[in-house]
């Protein structure tokens, strides 16, 4: 009995029968294969990430050097930076689009839809998603949505400029800010497409996990990655419809004279508006009813992925698997009832403030336990610091610092001073910016061999980690303290106030760190493209990991598994002796190695 339990070397020359029959377009463009769709999402998302990163660079240029004339950029952006200095209208459009693109088109596409599509069927032993055609449809709608969002820079008045939260009346009245002319309408249309696409994709993931798990794969044997996608997708299904409703109402307010969000007696640009009786707070409630679960939609998969990368490089099971699963479930439930902590100073009833404060802080309990379980997974480890592992360690670190920052903001009393300051900016960048970004990179380094049959360069990868974690931490850690000094967010410059003068030096440091961070990403793209064509060939299971995707060749053939695998054990069987090494993949029968769960 010396036959390894995982597949042998990849057999590219021997494609599965039937693959010849489909042409290039069906195979690579309008494919219904979840792996191709996953990769399409990842590539689209990475490109959107480049756009979002470029916008971040513009923001930091402005805040670090508020009066400097960037003559080169004035040629590239004659409207936004006519004399080399950014105009305020362009700055607000850039801030709004940076937030929108990073939240919805980068992290959602790469991490949630991209890796969700790629990993879920493979890890549950399925040949494809439950609804492959719907899956293809959701990708192409997502693609369209991203294209529409980018196009909004070129419409009259420029891109939307009311922030990614799009609070009316600013977002509803076209004379309030230039971006609220056509730009905001295009923003709404793009978001509507995004929601349609994301809903279909979430529905698909939930249905897949429910219906096509391989025999033997009970819910309590699923990897935390699959669990996190499962919970995140349920949240997506329940949380996005209220944003749809709000977007419809905003559109009607903008173009058809209704007054859902517009109160009586508004005078904008010295002109009295005819609207009566609407409620601007209604938008905020509907928006954050989505907005808060949405951050968990993004962060849960990041945590799940980090949890699955850890054991491959600690060579022992994760700590407290069952408890972690229940933490994910608890966080999912709690995330639906805490949205009001974004509105402590909005004029909402102070009693609601007390309620939201108390329930928000209960989230720290499952999240603390989850974080500590990740940390405790390192105890007694035989650690291998591969690139993917470094990024996972970074996830633990940023999740710790970002999560602790949440204690300030969930606390209504502390939030009175910190609301809408850079403390908030620092906090959410650590969480839905940093945790997700590092998990995304970790996932790419970890599953790149599976996806493309080639391995990424470790030296470049490790350099990339150092150039990502260190500047990232400096930028957003310092921003917390900008907030404590009272620096409001979404400011075009910190020049107009005496009390903010001393923050200008800090902003300069932050901007320099941001430039280091952004240029560090060149290492990643270089590595990615180089490895895609020239990387050394990957084995089926280069990390000696246990989940089902590692039992098939790299890259997996169309249909993934020759025969549906029969699962015999949980996803974390490390530290047991088999013919493969110190681990047992999930399909190894109980008479070869003891079954833990």
């Amino acid at each position: 009995m010396t036959t390894p339990f995982v597949a042998g070397p990849p057999h590219h020359a021997d494609p599965a029968p039937g693959e010849h029959a489909v042409g290039f377009i069906r195979r690579w463009v309008f494919s219904t294969d979840h792996k191709i769709i996953g990769i399409q999402y990842i590539i689209t998302g990475l490109l959107m990430g480049v756009a979002g990163g470029a916008l971040a660079a513009l923001i930091r240029l402005q805040l670090g050097w508020p009066e400097h004339r960037w003559m080169l950029l004035s040629h590239l952006l004659p409207n936004g930076m006519p004399s080399g200095v950014m105009t305020p209208e362009f700055y607000l459009a850039v801030v709004t689009m940076h937030g929108t693109i990073m939240v919805f088109f980068f992290i959602s596409y790469v991490l949630v839809s991209g890796f969700g599509n790629y990993l879920v069927p493979l890890q549950i032993g399925a040949k494809d998603m439950a609804f492959p055609f719907l899956n293809m449809l959701s990708y192409w709608i997502a693609f369209l949505s991203a294209a529409v969002m980018l196009a909004s820079f070129f419409v009259e008045g420029g891109a939307a400029a009311a922030g990614w939260t799009a609070y009316p009346p600013l977002s509803a009245v076209s004379s309030a800010v230039p971006g609220s002319q056509m730009g905001q309408t295009v923003w709404i249309v793009s978001m509507a497409l995004f929601i349609v696409s994301f809903t279909m994709s979430s529905l698909n993931i939930v249905a897949t996990v429910f219906s096509v798990r391989a025999p033997g794969l009970s819910m309590m044997r699923l990897s935390l990655t699959v669990w996190s996608y499962f919970i995140a997708s349920i949240l997506g299904l329940l949380a996005f419809p209220p944003l749809t409703a709000a977007a419809v109402m905003l559109l009607l307010d903008r173009h058809f004279g209704t007054s859902f969000f517009l109160p009586s007696g508004l005078v904008v640009a010295n002109k009295l508006l005819p609207n009566t009786g609407g409620s601007p707070l209604l938008w905020q409630h509907l928006f954050w009813f989505l907005g808060h679960p949405e951050v968990y939609v993004l962060i849960l998969p990041a945590l799940g992925i980090a949890c699955d990368i850890l054991p491959a490089f600690t060579r022992k099971p994760v700590f407290g698997y069952r408890i972690s699963v229940w933490c994910l479930v608890a966080v999912g439930c709690l995330s639906m009832i805490v949205w009001g902590h974004h509105m402590f100073v909005s004029g909402m009833s102070p009693f609601s403030g007390e309620y939201f404060s108390l329930v928000t802080l209960t989230i720290t309990v499952p999240m603390t336990i989850f974080g500590v379980n990740m940390l405790a997974s390192l105890r007694g480890a035989k650690l291998q610091l591969r690139t993917a592992m470094l990024f996972s360690l970074g996830v633990i670190a940023l999740f710790g610092s970002g999560g602790l920052g949440g204690l300030f903001l969930g606390n209504a009393t502390a939030d009175m001073q910190l609301h809408d300051t850079y403390f908030v900016v620092g906090h959410f960048h650590m969480m839905i910016g940093g945790v997700t970004l590092l998990a995304t990179f970790g996932a790419i380094y970890f599953w790149f061999p599976k996806m493309f049959g080639r391995t990424m360069n470790e030296t470049l990868g490790k350099l990339h980690f150092w150039f990502t974690f260190a500047p990232f931490f400096i930028i957003f850690f310092m921003q917390h303290f900008l907030g404590l000094q009272g620096a409001p967010r979404r400011y075009y410059a910190f020049t107009a106030y005496d009390y903010l003068q001393k923050t200008r030096g800090q902003n300069l440091v932050i901007s320099i760190a941001a430039m280091v961070l952004l240029s560090g990403q060149l290492l990643f793209f270089l590595n990615f493209v180089w490895s895609l064509f020239k990387g050394p060939a990957a084995e089926a299971n280069p990390w000696q990991a246990t989940t089902l995707e590692w039992t098939v060749p790299s890259p997996p053939p169309h249909g993934n598994f020759d025969a549906i695998p029969i699962v015999q054990r949980w996803a974390y069987e490390y530290g047991v002796q088999t013919v493969d090494g110190d681990f047992a993949v999930q399909t190894v029968a109980s008479h070869h190695a003891r079954v833990t769960a």
Binding site: A130, F131, L134, T199, L203, N204, V206, A207, F210, S211, V212, R213, P215, G216, L217, S218, L237, L238, A239, F240, P241, P242, T244, A245, A246, V248, M249, L252, F256, G257, T258, S259, F260, S264, T276, G277, G278, S279, L282, H285, L286, F289, I566, V567, Q568
Partner: protein
């Protein structure tokens, strides 16, 4: 999700038990009903999101209702006719289902045609109701109540259009010669769930805008 769990989850649960006892697991798996289970599950999840959509509209309605400028507009009596038409359509669909299960394909085909016709009749009736409102000088921005009326009926009508597409897919199975009883019943299940659900949503919305 209840409908799904009955057929699908049980099969899977059996499969899991079998692994532990080492018996042949493939037996517990039924690829024949898997697709139907998935479609049913997908439909229920979709209806879950639609419920959240209308729940959001409803809470917005309740909040906006407390505004000082709230003024009820007269709703066209036509809506009562539309309600009866939609209810009749649901009943016809049930009749089609019952006839089909009993093997009465002619009756089933006729009843299904009636259900479809009544469904389109409902849409036409809603459009007529809108036209009556417009003729009476009540437009989308006339009052918050009218804004909600047009928006809610519009959103509901869009879902009805989608459901009619699904009904046509069900009707095709009823009218065609190829009659796999189980597959047909599964298709009917999807049609009935979706259609009755939208009927219930309509009753709720109609009550909301007329009473509250």
């Amino acid at each position: 999700m209840t409908a799904y769990s009955i057929a699908g989850l049980k099969a899977r649960a059996t499969a899991e038990r079998d692994v532990e006892t080492g018996r042949d697991v493939a037996q517990g798996f039924s690829p024949a009903t898997l697709r139907e289970d998935q479609v049913r599950l997908g439909l229920w999840m979709f209806l879950g999101t639609v419920t959240m959509l209308f729940a959001a509209f409803t809470s917005a309605y309740v909040v906006r209702r407390s505004g000082s400028d709230w003024r009820h507009v007269a709703l066209p009596p036509m809506l009562w006719v539309n309600t009866i038409v939609l209810a009749a359509s649901s009943l016809a669909l049930e009749a089609a289902n019952r006839s089909g299960l009993g093997g009465g394909w002619r009756a089933a085909s006729g009843a299904f045609a009636a259900a479809l016709a009544l469904g389109f009749g409902f849409l036409a009736g809603q459009i007529a109701a809108w036209r009556q409102m417009v003729a009476a000088g009540v437009y989308l921005p006339s009052s918050p109540h009218s804004s909600f009326f047009y928006m809610l009926t519009g959103a509901h009508a869009l879902h009805v259009v989608a459901a009619l597409g699904v009904l046509i897919w069900g009707a095709a199975a009823t009218w065609s010669g190829d009659r796999n009883r189980r597959a047909w019943a599964a298709r009917m299940g999807v049609c009935r769930t979706f259609w009755h659900y939208l009927g219930a949503v309509w009753l709720f919305l109609f009550a909301l805008v007329s009473i509250y």
